[in-house]
Point group: C2
Chain length 465, copies 2
């Protein structure tokens, strides 16, 4: 593969065309946003199919061989253009979140519009940022390229899912059944955000997730604390005693062996992250907090990007209604999850936690485990020159150095591309923290949309064809 | 007051009459049991009034001045007979628990009957043990006495409540408004049980209760653990850490000062309790447990009768439904109660707990307290010779030494008689652990009913008149 390089003569007219035809690109996005493709609600099944068909027609008009491919759920849109160069697969999703509570929306979520706000123009409507607006940035870049050069830029597959917001039940089977067709050399995923206002980012590190639920059993029925209080085992007491020791005084996870396979962050990455000058006070202040609550010797960015965690996501037991019942319940419950970093095996982490809990059970206590499952962390190989090429392309477009960043959450598609198709992904997106995704009044900045299209044109200029 | 003494010549014919007329007494109880006086359900308001009227009519027929006295809730039955000797007030309650789940009853709960079982004859029906059958033991004893001697035995007030199973909202106001009339020299309460099969008991020590609910606040909204996990305070983690330290490794409550006002059990009482040979293995085994879970240096009976406790009666926070959400919730909750022993001030115990929690709050955590309330423990003065007289009377009837016992639960009426009316109570009852009170198929042993009536005749013979 030749080293990626930019061809300014080819790129400049594409960028010009993107700017000149932006109103038409917005109109197309508004068209797509009008289709209420809520994947989780069966009432919108036909709308999901309609959104897929809309995209197929648009991609066909652009010269892709495109089809809506049936699944047991909503269709997958697969579009192919055989061209020169590396085979690159672009992923986005056309389904959207539900809109309730509708009363909190300032406009019909499926009657989208370009609105002028004090902070600039925004495209308002469900899916504008997550993920229709983002996936259209790539398609619009292709359209401008085709209009200027007469052909699509390189060897492309576009793969658009319709179940991302409902757990992607058909995804892995579809990847397996179509492995040969979908296995490209590199994936591009547009479903993430900027690092900060006007600071673009490529996500190269994704935490994994392991989780399970436990039930701690004690007596064979609920007991009255008047009769049994003081002599009978209270499972809530046992559960809080055990889970209360999940972290030590340094904020470290206290389960033996938990950090065995956790590597230290490479110095270069640490240095780059420090240069990002992450404003953790603003990050936490936005949700009413002030103090980083993780390991005391780690920086805030390490806490959310590169260190594993243990969290109690739910706990319940005994009487939880209005008033009071002096009950000693028969059982208590908790849902526990672990964010994992590269090197950690979800099975091993869960097994270590289970052993640790079981070793602490008091007499008469019995623990039952439910639905343990997990997915490992992802780490992209930035040795692939395409990463540095994309980073330069983004830096040029946004006027600020693009950052390689971590992502505290799990983006399962990136992991599946690695495990099922053997390809790494570049996660590049233009969403902003205030986009209100999954919430009322979702928006996408017109600036994100425009620069997003231009960003992809620059990235394709460097890595495709 | 002369020392209580028995008059065998007066007593014997009363006991004979009780046995001879037992079938009629059972029929009267069945009549009362047919009235569905469920106090907590407004649909049965008229039935509660009907039960009160039934009792008034019966007591009037016996020669009491009796009336159903209105309250904002269900009526109180007050019956008075001025006679010679100490003024003694008897308390019972005519209301009953709801009957659901009805499907688990083997017969209509309000179509009671005398049933023959392998373990003997039982009176089956809602309220048979709790508390209609028990209150009728006293009335039947009075009836037999009157039949034999032509007059009621002594200076009596009978006070029957209709809201005991629904929190007694009218009780304290009624006691205050009628203080002069209801303040006797000693109360008798029939709402407890035998210590063991055929081993009668007088409860002289009742644990108190202090309770509150707390909400531990962290972020101003629920957070996603992908984005915030590792840096944001998880209130469930903070709550389990704090509550997990509520007891030390010896099973003692770890709140500073908690035991400051707790006296050691007098040696005489401890010796008597040891003589009771409490079968804690059977007690715990009946609910699927084996190991006493309280303070490791205390006997099982101390744990439930004479030692204070701290219990988490409910805990909840985060996602508790089916499946999983990797949420870091904005808040977590718990309901905590303390069983108190004589000497402990509920206000002081709650204040100590609050300070202990607040001192352990991590940065960004805030605790909110709800509905703190409490009632102190009760201890009856067994120096009153009536106690020893009653103990002898019970011992004679049952053929086994009657025990002074503690009661792990709170029986608020006994406390209110002390605090509102300034009188101690003797708590004597004939219920058994297998009576299924508050549950389907409630029953009262015919033996409990017969010997209960005879017990009251013997007690009245010694302490009344």
């Amino acid at each position: 593969m030749p080293a990626p390089h930019s061809d300014p003569a080819a790129l400049a007219p594409v960028l010009d065309r993107i700017d000149a035809t932006l109103p038409e690109a917005v109109d197309r996005l508004l068209d797509l946003l009008r289709i209420p493709s809520i994947s989780t609600d069966p009432a919108f099944k036909a709308d999901c199919a309609r959104a897929a068909d809309w995209l197929v027609a648009d991609l066909q008009a652009l010269g892709f061989e495109a089809a809506a491919r049936p699944t047991p759920g909503h269709p997958m849109v697969v579009a192919r253009h055989e061209g020169p160069g590396r085979h690159i697969l672009f992923y986005g999703h056309y389904d959207v979140q539900p809109v309730d509570p509708l009363s909190l929306w300032d406009r019909d979520p499926f009657d989208p519009a370009l609105e002028t706000t004090p902070a600039g123009e925004v495209i308002r409507g469900r899916g504008s940022s997550d993920d229709k607006g983002q996936l259209m940035t790539f398609i619009e870049a292709c359209r401008a390229w085709k209009a200027v050069h007469g052909s699509l830029p390189g060897n492309l597959t576009i793969f658009l899912e319709g179940e991302e917001e409902s757990g992607s039940p058909s995804l892995v089977p579809f990847l397996r059944e179509n492995r040969a067709e979908l296995s490209a050399e590199l994936a591009l995923i547009c479903d993430t955000g900027l690092f900060a206002d006007h600071v673009p980012a490529i996500v190269t590190m994704l935490r994994g997730l392991a989780k399970l639920e436990l039930t701690l059993h004690a007596a064979n029925k609920d007991l009255h604390s008047g009769m049994f209080g003081g002599i009978a085992l209270n499972p809530i007491r046992a559960l809080t005693k055990i889970l209360g020791g999940l972290h030590d005084d340094q904020g470290r996870v206290a389960v033996p062996g938990f950090y065995d396979d956790v590597a230290e962050l490479p110095e270069a990455v640490r240095a780059q992250w420090q240069a990002l000058a992450f404003d953790h006070a603003a990050f936490l202040g936005g949700v009413g907090l002030a103090t980083p609550a993780g390991e005391i010797d780690r920086t805030p960015l390490e806490m959310i990007w590169s260190r594993p965690t243990a969290e109690i996501n739910g706990i319940w037991g005994g009487y939880t209604g209005a008033g009071f019942k002096t009950v000693l319940p028969a059982e208590a419950h908790a849902k526990i999850s672990f964010r994992l970093v590269p090197g950690q095996d979800p099975e091993k982490v869960l097994a270590g936690f289970r052993s640790w809990v079981e070793a602490q059970l008091p007499p008469d206590a019995r623990v039952e485990w439910h639905e343990p499952n997990g997915s490992p962390a992802g780490q992209m190989s930035i040795d692939d020159p395409a990463f540095e090429a994309a980073r330069q392309a983004l830096t040029e477009e946004w006027g600020a150095p693009a950052a390689y960043v971590g992502c505290g959450g799990s983006i399962p598609i990136a992991g599946y591309f690695q495990t099922e198709l053997g390809m790494d992904a570049m996660l590049i997106g233009f969403g902003k923290d205030d986009d209100q995704i999954h919430s009322p009044n979702e928006k996408y900045d017109l600036d994100s949309f425009r620069r997003g299209i231009r960003s992809w044109a620059r990235v394709l200029d460097r890595i495709a064809g």
